[in-house]
C-alpha cells in the first residue's frame, strides 16, 4: 500500500490537450473519486496512472517511485474496467488467477490468495463457472477479485458500476465501500455519477475539460463549492442559479424581478453581475416570499416533493420540500432564498465570491 502523487500531468492526443496540468496528492489508504461530465478527461487520467496511455508531460509517483515511464504491469496498480474485461473462455478461477500464472507466483501461494479473495467476494461457489454464466454483479465481483489477488499498491476503478441496473448499483456501491474499509487500500474511482462520488469518496476530484476544478471531501464540496461548475455538478436536482445585479445599496436584484435580496457577501461594487446559488432543499416557499415563479411540474416522491417552477428570465427553479404539496401547474408561488444558505458567484468568471 502506498500513496500516489501527480505532478503537472499533461496528456495531448495530437494537438488536442485532454489533460491540462493536473497536480494531486493522494494519501495512503484514501479513496479518491474522479468525477466530471463525459469528455472531462477523468478516464484518461486513470489510464495515465495505469500506464495504458503515455504521459505527455509531468510525473506520476506511486509510493516513493517515479513510475511515469514504468511498464504498466510493474507500477503496482490493478484496474477494474467498465466492461469488466473478463476473459470469456476462462473460468472465474482462471480469470482471477491469470495474473499470478503470468507472473509465476508459486502455486500454493496463488491458490491461497485466490481462496482468500473468493471468500471475501463470495465467489467460492462460482469459481468453476465462465463469465457468460454469471450475473452482472457477480462479474463485477470477479473483476474486483482479479484486482485484489495482485495485491496492488493502488486500485483503479473505471466506472465499474455503470453497466449494472439501479438496484444492483446501490448494493455494489455498499460492497465497494465495505471492501475499501476492509482492505484499507489506496483506491481511485472514476465515475460520472455524482451520487457514487458523494457516497464513496474520502475526497472528490471534480474535473472539467482536463483541469481540476476543485478537490475536497464530499460534503465540503457540496457545502462550499469554489465555482459555478462544482456547485452545479454536485447535487440533484442541481443548485438553482439566478443571475443578479448589485444595486447601489449593496442588495442584489435578480434579472427579471423588481425585488431586491440581501447579499450574503458585503462590499460588492454596485453594477457588478453576480450569480446567486441556492440548493433546492434550501429554497423557502412562503406566501411572503420576495420572488415569484410559475409551477411547471410537481414530483411527489413520498418522503420529499420536488417542485419545478419557471422564474422570470426563463430560469427553471427546483425546490425540494419535506411536506407533501398539492399545487396545480401554472399556479404562481412565492419563494425566498435564505441569505445564510445562498452562495454568490461572479457571473463572468464563475468563481465563488467569498466574504
Amino acid at each position: 500500500m502506498s500513496g500516489l502523487e501527480l505532478k503537472g500531468l499533461r496528456k495531448a492526443f495530437g494537438l488536442t490537450e485532454i489533460i491540462s496540468g493536473v497536480d494531486l496528492k493522494i494519501a495512503d489508504g484514501e479513496l479518491v473519486v474522479f468525477v466530471g461530465p463525459s469528455g472531462c478527461g477523468k478516464s484518461t487520467l486513470l489510464r495515465l496512472i495505469a500506464g495504458l496511455e503515455n504521459v505527455t508531460a509531468g510525473q506520476i509517483v506511486i509510493g516513493d517511485h517515479d513510475v511515469t515511464k514504468v511498464d504498466p504491469a510493474k507500477r503496482g496498480v490493478a484496474m477494474v474496467f467498465q466492461s469488466y474485461a473478463l476473459f470469456p473462455h476462462m473460468t472465474v478461477r482462471q480469470n482471477i488467477g491469470f495474473g499470478m500464472r503470468v507472473n509465476r507466483v508459486p502455486k500454493p501461494e496463488a491458490a491461497a490468495r485466490l481462496e482468500k479473495a473468493a471468500a471475501l467476494l463470495q465467489l467460492t461457489e462460482l469459481l468453476d463457472r465462465r463469465p457468460a454464466q454469471l450475473s452482472g454483479g457477480q462479474r463485477q465481483r470477479v473483476a474486483i477479485g482479479r484486482a485484489i489477488v495482485r495485491e496492488p499498491d493502488v486500485f483503479l476503478f473505471d466506472e465499474p458500476l455503470s453497466n449494472l441496473d439501479a438496484e444492483l448499483r446501490v448494493q455494489m456501491r455498499g460492497e465497494l465501500a465495505a471492501l475499501h474499509a476492509r482492505l484499507g487500500a489506496t483506491m481511485i474511482y472514476v465515475t460520472h455519477d455524482q451520487v457514487e462520488a458523494m457516497t464513496l469518496a474520502d475526497r472528490i476530484v471534480v474535473l472539467r475539460a482536463g483541469r481540476v476544478e476543485q478537490i475536497g471531501a464530499p460534503l465540503d464540496l457540496y457545502d462550499d463549492p469554489d465555482n459555478l461548475f462544482v456547485a452545479g455538478f454536485l447535487g440533484s436536482p442541481r443548485m438553482n442559479f439566478l443571475t443578479a445585479e448589485v444595486q447601489p445599496d449593496g442588495r442584489l436584484r435578480p434579472n427579471g424581478y423588481a425585488a431586491d435580496l440581501p447579499s450574503p457577501v458585503g462590499g460588492l461594487t454596485p453594477g457588478r453581475r453576480v450569480v446567486l446559488g441556492c440548493r433546492p432543499e434550501n429554497i423557502e416557499i412562503t406566501d411572503d416570499g420576495a420572488l415569484t415563479a410559475s409551477v411547471k411540474t410537481v414530483e411527489q416522491l413520498g418522503a420529499s416533493t420536488f417542485v419545478h417552477a419557471d422564474c422570470a428570465s426563463s430560469v427553471v427553479l427546483a425546490a425540494e420540500l419535506r411536506q407533501r404539496w398539492s399545487l396545480k401547474n401554472q399556479t404562481t408561488l412565492r419563494f425566498n432564498l435564505p441569505t445564510a444558505s445562498t452562495q454568490l458567484f461572479d457571473a463572468d468568471t464563475g468563481l465563488r465570491i467569498r466574504q
Partner: protein, 277 residues
Amino acid sequence: MPPILRKALIYLAIAAVAFVFVLPLWWAILSSFRPNEAIFRDLFPFTPRALWPEPFTLDAYVAIFERGFGTIIANTLLVAGLTTALGLIVNGLAGYAFALFEFPGKSAVLGIVVVSFMLPFEAIAMPLYSVVSQLGWIDHVAALVVPSVANGLAVFLFYQFFQQVPKDYYEAARLEGAGWLRILWSVYVPLSLPTCISAGLMLFIFQWEAFLWPLLAMPAQQFKVIQVGMAAFQDQYTTAWNQLFGAAVITALIPMLLLIPLQRYYVQGLAGSGIKG
C-alpha cells in the same frame, strides 16, 4: 391447383436442378468403380444403366495406388499441412500486429496486403519463379511451402477478427503483466478458434488445389503433389479414365473429410463471429 400438387411440382423442379448439379460428381464416382472400357458404354446411346456402377470393380483404385498415388497424397498432405501450420503462425501474428499495434505506414502496408489477395496467382508466377530459382529452391519442398505461407486473405481474416475483440482484454492482460505474445496465445487465440479454423482450411485447400505453381517449381517431377499427379493419368495417347476418376474422387474426398467436422466453425469464422462478454 391443389396445394399437394403444387408442392409436388416444386419438389420436382428442385430435384431436377439438384440432379444437374450432382450428376457430374455422381458420374465421376461411379466411373471410378467401372472398368476403363465400360465407362462410355451406356452413354451413346444413353441408357439408365449409365447411372449405376455396373460392372463394379475396384481395379482403378488398386491401379492408382500401384502407380504411387499414396506417395503423392502423402506429399500433398505434407506440403499442405506445413503451409497450414506455418501459415497460421505467420498470418495470425501479422493480423495481430495490424489490429493492435500502431506503427508508421500501417495503413499502407495493410492496403498492400489487401491488394495482394486480389492479384491472380498467374500474374506473379514468373517473378516468383525467378526469386525461387535464385534461392536455389527449384525442385525443393521449400519452393512449394514458403511462398504460400504468407496469405493476404488469411492476414485480413485475422486482422478483422482481432480488431473486433474489445481492447479492454488486451489492456487487462497487459496490466496483469502479460507480454504481447502471451496475450496473443492466452487470450486472442482461444477467442479466435473459428478464425484459425477458417484460415487454416483456406490455406490447406489453397495448397491442395495448387497445380500451376507445383508444375513450375518442381520440373523434375520427383516430388509430385496431387493435382500434378492427377494430370499424369492422362497421357498423350491413352487416358485411364477410371483411374483419373478414382484419383479425382480421392482428391475431393480428403478436404471434404476435413471440412465436414469443422464446417460449423468455418461458416462462423467467415461470417465474423460475435464475442460473448
